[in-house]
């Protein structure tokens, strides 16, 4: 039985309609008004496994439609194909429903996997191990360089071996609550359930997890939880997992099941008859534009936090593949949900290119404080104990320095704005190890955080063993991403998404150490089940030939766009626009947002985009290694995506997790959620616009159900 796969057909009709027929528009901003209209414009048949919502309840759960003029709204709620019933057993029931491809038939299928981080390398390796033909793309010169490599602190797992009262249910509760009830609960159960084997597998393929003296796996605590479920390898967990995954991928390369193509950037998706059937890539070394077709495409292309220019992300992290897919019909979920990491390095100069992350694990032993007196200029060590404000310990006594990231970032911003910031630019707070060194000794601290301390010293020239670190909130993780259903399929049939490029698990705020986990779970233990379920319906079909009109058309469009970028002939390099965009977003769509600020950011983004297409300069040609061209293409996409981020933030008239609208806060300054109106995920559909500007996006709403973790106010006090 495979009645789940109905989204694709519905999307096709929606995408089809965007070309000629004008989209239905809601004229009334009154959320209660359009009831009749929706009831009459419901599609003939959806055939969904889950009963489509209808009537007033459905409308209520599609949320207010208050941003008319900026966006438009779909009539029908979006169905996530979530298994009905107990979410605890949803994944095993769904797996049983999945169709299989027999081992002998697997080699008849080709799957393209884009990205070689933990999700991409895992998915490609696992599909290769199963016997499928995989073409794996990365823009890096080697698979192991993907940005999963930079995650420091650890990977969560609901192994619940200790007697600290952890369990799968508690993992889900922490994750759902940490995400401020904007995640899909059933996905979180899958995340927790598969987390157990993730540790086993990564350990087996050679990741040397930290061990106790008795030889068992060692764990530590992370923000937003009160148990110890984070597995780690010093401060380089991401690197160890990533290197292990890349080696597993290389093993398949050696065995011939995976064709790994490095230094190639995916610039577009080939969509034919509503289905994803291939990709168009640029060989970054030669400039050659190539097309590859397959039975299915998986995007594991990471997050887009780098849109802020200064972030904790790598220099080349980008949204291009995901954004190109979005432009081809894949919905983009919650683009405004960006996590600001509370322990990033502060900005200290114009040419500083990133706000390097100092792992959250430091908050296990470091204490965060600011001087009680605003503008206190004394060196940290000369400020006496009673004149220090350990504001996290004061405001959130039970979680203290391990309060969740969004809350910690907001608290830091509050202190900095109130004049308590420290450092030459007064834009940071202290993270102090004095007490921990006194209690545990320098050697233990060095053992735990040695490489992080070194990294801090390299970047700042200050010694964190003798004076406190200075940290500040920096753009970090994208909770939003391409929308997908429970089976990881996007709104384009045959296009799957995994890892940070997707959305499902983290709601409006990701818990520390859940990122490596979600990438591993998607890559190794979800996509290898759900992609074959899709493939099974297409046995006997051949991938599109290279000279198919859909392929040729897409290749021509990529060439045309590349030429257009090269021919602008302006005066400014791509980085100029990236820096400017980052400044616009940090002030307009940053740690805190307001309606006025967002509207202003929208204006600035549009102006910047116009300037970009008028005044960009790319020296050189497209037929060679041209890093300016690579950057320009990515920034052109960021300039479009930034608008959708702001529109999403403007539309979502509530505060939740990392999305903090100043208009909606409790008297204590905490995020004030509005579950009556906003308990759904916004999935945005692209519409074509004029010139360089995208059209008004269409909001689709997938209602979120919470069965195991009842809706409640997040309280970490």
């Amino acid at each position: 039985m495979n009645t789940f796969r109905t989204i694709g057909s519905r999307i096709r009709s929606v995408v089809g309609s965007s070309e000629g027929v004008p989209r239905p528009q809601q004229d009334s901003p009154d959320p209660a008004a359009p009831q009749e209209e929706a009831a009459t414009s419901a599609p003939e048949s959806t055939g969904n496994a889950k009963k489509p919502l209808s009537g007033p309840a459905a409308l209520k759960r599609q949320g207010p439609k208050g941003t008319q003029g900026f966006v438009t709204y779909a009539d029908e709620p979006l169905n996530g194909n979530v298994p009905t019933g107990d979410p605890l057993t949803a994944w095993s029931r769904r797996k049983l429903d999945y169709k299989l491809v027999s081992p002998l038939n697997r080699r008849k299928f080709k799957v393209i996997v884009v990205g070689t981080g933990l999700a991409g390398a895992g998915c490609a390796a696992a599909l290769g191990e199963l016997g499928y033909n995989v073409v794996s793309y990365t823009f890096h010169d080697a698979a192991r360089r993907a940005h999963s490599v930079a995650a420091q602190g650890g990977i969560n797992s609901a192994r619940a071996k200790k007697v600290d009262n952890d369990s799968l249910e508690r993992f889900v509760k922490d994750t759902v609550k940490g995400g401020d009830f904007r995640a899909r609960e059933a996905d979180c159960f899958r995340l927790g359930e598969e987390s157990v084997r993730v540790i086993d597998h990564m350990d087996a393929i050679g990741a040397p997890f930290a061990r106790e003296y008795g030889g068992e796996l060692r764990t530590r605590s992370f923000g937003g939880v009160q148990v110890s479920r984070t597995y780690y390898t010093r401060g380089q967990t991401g690197q160890q997992l990533q290197v292990a995954a890349a080696r597993a991928l290389q093993r398949q390369v050696g065995l011939g099941t995976v064709d790994l193509r490095t230094h190639r950037e995916v610039l577009d998706l080939v969509v034919d008859d509503g289905r994803a059937k291939g990709v168009v890539v640029r060989d970054l070394y030669t400039g050659e534009i190539e097309a590859e077709t397959a039975h299915a495409v998986v995007l594991c292309t990471g997050g887009y936090g780098n849109v802020y220019f200064r972030s904790t992300l790598a220099h080349n992290s980008n949204v291009t593949a995901a954004w190109r897919a979005h432009r081809r019909g894949a919905y983009f979920a919650s683009p405004s949900y960006i996590q600001f990491h509370p322990t990033a390095l502060p900005v200290s100069s114009h040419w500083q290119s990133k706000t390097t992350l100092m792992s959250e694990s430091l908050r296990n032993d470091g204490r965060i404080w600011v001087p009680k007196a605003p503008g206190d200029d004394r060196p940290a060590n000369q400020i006496p104990e009673e004149e220090r404000d350990y504001y996290l310990e004061r405001k959130y006594p039970s979680y203290g320095n391990l309060s969740p990231r969004d809350i910690s970032s907001r608290a830091a911003r509050e202190q900095i704005e109130a004049g308590h910031g420290v450092g030459p630019l007064r834009n940071s707070v202290y993270l102090d190890f004095r007490d921990a060194i006194g209690r545990l000794g320098k050697k233990t601290i060095e053992e735990r955080y040695g490489n992080l301390f070194e990294m801090y010293f390299d970047a700042t020239g200050e010694d964190p063993y003798t004076e406190p670190m200075r940290i500040a909130p920096g753009a970090h993780f994208a909770m939003g991403g391409l929308w997908s259903d429970y089976d990881m399929m996007t709104s384009i049939e045959g296009l799957f998404v995994g890892g940070e490029a997707g959305w499902g698990y983290h709601g409006a705020n990701r818990l520390g150490a859940n990122s490596l986990l979600s990438a591993c779970v998607d890559g190794w233990f979800t996509l290898p089940y759900s992609v074959p379920n899709f493939l099974a319906n297409h046995l006997g079909e051949a991938p599109l030939p290279a000279d198919h009109p859909a392929v040729e058309r897409t290749v021509a469009e990529v060439r045309e766009r590349t030429d257009r970028l090269l021919s602008i002939g302006g005066t400014k390099g791509a980085d100029h626009f990236h820096r400017a965009l980052g400044d616009v977003l940090y002030s307009g769509c940053g740690v805190a947002r307001t309606e006025a600020g967002l509207k202003n950011a929208l204006k600035e983004i549009r102006a910047l985009r116009e300037e970009f297409w008028r005044d960009l300069r790319i020296p050189g040609s497209g037929r060679e290694l041209n890093q300016e061209l690579e950057r320009a293409g990515r920034i052109a996409d960021y300039l479009e995506m930034a608008e959708l981020m702001c529109l999403d933030a403007l539309d979502r008239d509530e505060s939740c997790g990392a999305h903090f609208r100043e208009e909606h806060q409790t008297p204590d300054g905490e995020a004030l959620r509005d579950d009556d109106d906003w308990c759904f995920v916004s999935a945005w559909e692209h519409t074509p616009g004029k010139g360089a500007h995208p059209g008004k996006p269409v909001r689709h709403a997938e209602p979120l159900d919470f069965q195991a973790v009842p809706l409640q106010t997040r309280n970490y006090a």
Partner: protein, 250 residues
Amino acid sequence: MKLTIEVWRQEDTTTKGRFVTYQVDDATPEMSLPELLDRLNDQLVTAGEEPIAFDTDCREGICGTCGITVNGVPHGKVPNTPTCRQNLRSYDDGEHLKLEPFRAASFPVVRDLVVDRSALDRVIASGGYVSVDAGTAPDADTRQIPFKVAEQALDFSACIGCGACIAACPNGAAHLFAGALLSHMSTLPQGKPERSKRARGVVATTEEEFGPCSVYAECVEVCPAGIPISAISAVNREAARAAIRRNKDN
């Protein structure tokens, strides 16, 4: 800070390269080397010249993408520190910097400071892995690994694959890289079932792709991951062990 920067410019693998001298007048001590190149490239683009191609990504020393030879030393002046974590505070105002790609016969120049390091991946693909399929692993807690053994494995697995060891070696040998890989795997119980098989594959490819090791030990001076020198002896040790064990995999 004012710096004179001499940079290797080369259009592609087949074209002959040359040094070109540039001037940056507003460098600051906290700038990293890639940030200095960002600054210089901004100047070049504004002047309508082609910017310098260089590899860079995470900029926090963990991805191993960056790699520039500065005044003859792979990665730069500060020992055991990757290019992206080398700051200008270790240079003086008015100093002359000579920037070249990583020089090694196994690393052909792609353009300017970008080199092709795919030979490293061919070493990994020839056996540098554990043959366990997804989902088939035993409970990781049933495999007890002493604390110090895990730490020792981590000392070797810390390699970021940047290739500086090869660029520093007068012979262009990759023994530190290959030895780190073999030592990591042979230290852990997970790596034992195919220890000999792995050694045969990895050592054969290392010898095919790279130069021989004469124990100059220049590699450990530059290695940003601080891989211990004992790694280089692991190559011959593991190869000899595998030879003695004839056709056995373990």
